[in-house]
Symmetry: C2
Subunit: 433 residues, 2 copies
């Protein structure tokens, strides 16, 4: 398609949704991507830019002629512009974008950038539809018909008092289905919620999910209306957080993406592997304490990874359940002991089941009942410890303010490796020599 | 609070949002929960029921007097009733709920239950606001003011042709801000999408997320309007899918929850641990081939878990990135080779880095340069293989129709364990003896 050049490209891409074009750009190799952008600069609009993966935005922005950037940026709501700017490493690009905005929008974006990262203030859009709380439905409709700068999409009208403090909201559905003379205050929704601009975005996303909000008002420290957060923004945050948890649990730094370069990937994977190396060496130190036993009974070297691996897997299961429950706030001080008890019991029961299996395997394979007993007891011990560490470690990390998704994995597998090798080899030294 | 009994409880719980009450019930132990329900049966309304974790719904439903169930169920939209019923194991409870509904709703719920599980038909609600496509804004407003059975929340009016086929939609914002004589067709949105009732819900959720939809129409095989799916339903699906991926990657069956009993937990964890046991035994078989070498050089037994563990971790990193990229459709046929190349290269580079570190560790710890070389080479081999298997295995599983989140972990760690032990011990046998 692009080898042939021409207008056919614009023809093909024009009808696509911005998100699909962004996906296409992400999936292309560097060369074809650059050629595509060069061929179709006017096509790259604000929507595509804001859908694009962060790691590619700078590249694409740099490749676009300035006048196209200006045009693209002007279409966007202020929250999307903030999103676009906040991750640019190149300050001059951010300057170009800010200059492209009209004065009002520029002030709004700069103010939003003044709020901490990952706060409600960064998430909100300034375009908001308000009405004095004493208006009637008819007045609101007349006002809306007369207004010429309404947001692209809006679902609620926020009621404000004379000091611009939000006091409630009315859904458009209610406005449309009520008589013109109905006061707005009479049809306002019960579930009104506001957030401070400095509230963390995870707080906001949780509330949207928990209370099925569609939009919510954002206020400053004096309770005055600053903007509004809509469900699609909250949805994006939830999505990102789940994604972050998944990747962090696997030891991948969350800023990564498929469009990354090899070296970026190497750098992002390295720290976790380094942590893992340290814990693996710790486990090896435990093993080295038992070199004498292993030389006598080489079967121990053959079987010992089984105990450690089962413990590691059981620990990861408990850990993942606990990390997610912490993230969704299902695991709280109220039920933490019940959950720990359950995980430890579950570990013990599964431990006994696998102990029996492994005792039989050990007996059949190496013909030694005592070896079977050793591996069985070590298995029970390690699975119980796995259940305990799998819940306990993330809960403790959360308490001391460390993200449990990021750090728990290394701790839990260290515990299960060390306990697994120590229990197995230690019992072997006691009972088999 | 509950020990004292009384109306204070109702007083305390009344102002809470249904979702919070449901969370409270989930966190209580069995005894207090039963006492709370007995004290406050009228308080458990439809909203609380639909927010409640599936594993508790049956218990709570069984504890409620039938008339409260009837009342609770009648408040709900049909999609929530479907959600409530579809997971009940006790058919008689489902019967009670169906009988509680008014005839129209009952037919709607039964029809929805006729669609396959996890389809758009199960997700949609029947309550939908429609207007003939030839109406004007004024006609629509008059109709809405006259209608008495409007859904609780609605954001769009769906335009239909005379055969009830949806042809477009108009946002309420546009209706409110346009003059009464404007034809609806003139202000309809561009991004109109419909789904068939049999479309999988993951398809629907993907489209909502990708195209920032707020609601979408659901049609039958003849393209006639059946209902509507709203963003909160799609959000719930996305949320569940990410959750499922997280848990499955850790080898936890996705139906689990914190409210589960111990035995349920044991049963759900067992299969994955059993799979892991088999793969661990396979790795042990590989080790047992080298018993002779280990007896000669016991340092091999000490160091071999390091190689396997580093490979397992690197493989899990690649795997997790690949599984998520498959789930979000960022990894496709178009870029799979590029991603594989990147992961293999990244594995190789990190492999070399850790090879150098381990060679030094091996040399310092055991004073043998050859041992350092063996572990270094084995490390590079295993990290390259980890990158290859981490992307290749989920892609292949997806191709043959197996959920990569569920099965990849076992395969990848088997590969890295076997390759790790084989490379390390094999090289040792060749070079050290």
């Amino acid at each position: 398609v692009e080898a042939g050049d021409g207008e056919t490209l614009a023809h093909l891409l024009e009808p696509l949704h911005g998100a699909d074009v962004a996906d296409l750009l992400e999936q292309l190799d560097d060369g074809p991507r650059r050629r595509l952008i060069a061929l179709w600069p006017h096509g790259i609009d604000g929507e595509i830019l804001s859908e694009l993966d962060e790691s590619l935005r700078e590249e694409v922005l740099a490749a676009l002629p300035p006048e196209d950037v200006v045009e693209a940026v002007r279409e966007l709501d202020t929250d999307d512009v903030v999103d676009l700017i906040e991750n640019l490493e190149d300050a001059s690009q951010a300057g170009v974008i800010l200059d492209a905005l009209e004065a009002v929008d520029r002030v709004a974006v700069e103010q939003a950038l003044g709020f901490p990262e990952y706060s409600a203030g960064r998430l909100m859009q300034r375009e908001v539809v308000i009405a004095p709380s004493f208006w009637t439905v008819g007045q609101a409709i007349n006002h809306l018909r007369g207004a010429d700068d309404l947001p692209e999409q809006f679902y609620h009208v926020i009621l404000v008092d004379p000091r611009m403090r939000p006091v409630g909201y009315v859904t458009l559905g209610k406005i449309l289905s009520s008589a013109r003379e109905t006061p707005l205050a009479e049809i306002e929704e019960e579930s009104f919620r506001t957030f401070y601009a400095t509230d963390p975005e995870s707080e906001v996303a949780y509330a949207f999910n928990q209370y099925h909000l569609i939009s919510a008002a954002v206020v400053d420290a004096d309770d005055r209306l600053l903007g509004v957060i809509t469900i699609d923004d909250a949805m994006a945050v939830l999505d990102e957080e789940a994604e972050e948890d998944i990747l962090r649990l696997a030891g991948v730094d969350s800023e990564g993406s498929l469009s990354d370069r090899v070296l970026g990937t190497v750098r992002r994977r390295f720290p976790w592997l380094a942590v893992n190396l340290l814990t693996a060496i710790l486990a090896s130190v435990v093993i080295s304490q038992f070199e004498g036993v292993i030389t006598e009974i080489v079967a121990l070297a053959v079987l010992m990874p089984i105990v450690a691996s089962m413990g590691g897997n059981a620990g990861t299961q408990s850990l993942t359940v606990a990390v997610r429950a912490l993230a969704t706030r299902d695991l709280t001080g109220a039920n933490v002991w019940r959950v720990i008890r359950r995980e430890v019991l579950a570990g013990g029961i599964n431990g006994v089941a696998f102990a029996v299996i492994m005792a039989v395997v050990g007996l059949l394979w190496f013909g030694s009942p005592m070896l079977g007993l050793v591996i069985a007891v070590a298995m029970v011990i390690n699975l119980v410890v796995a259940g305990l560490a799998g819940v306990g470690i993330p809960v403790i990390l959360q308490k001391i303010g460390v993200d449990p998704a990021l750090a728990s994995g290394a701790f839990v597998t260290t515990v299960t490796d060390v306990v697994g090798f120590f229990a197995f080899l230690g019992l072997a030294a006691l009972w088999l020599l």
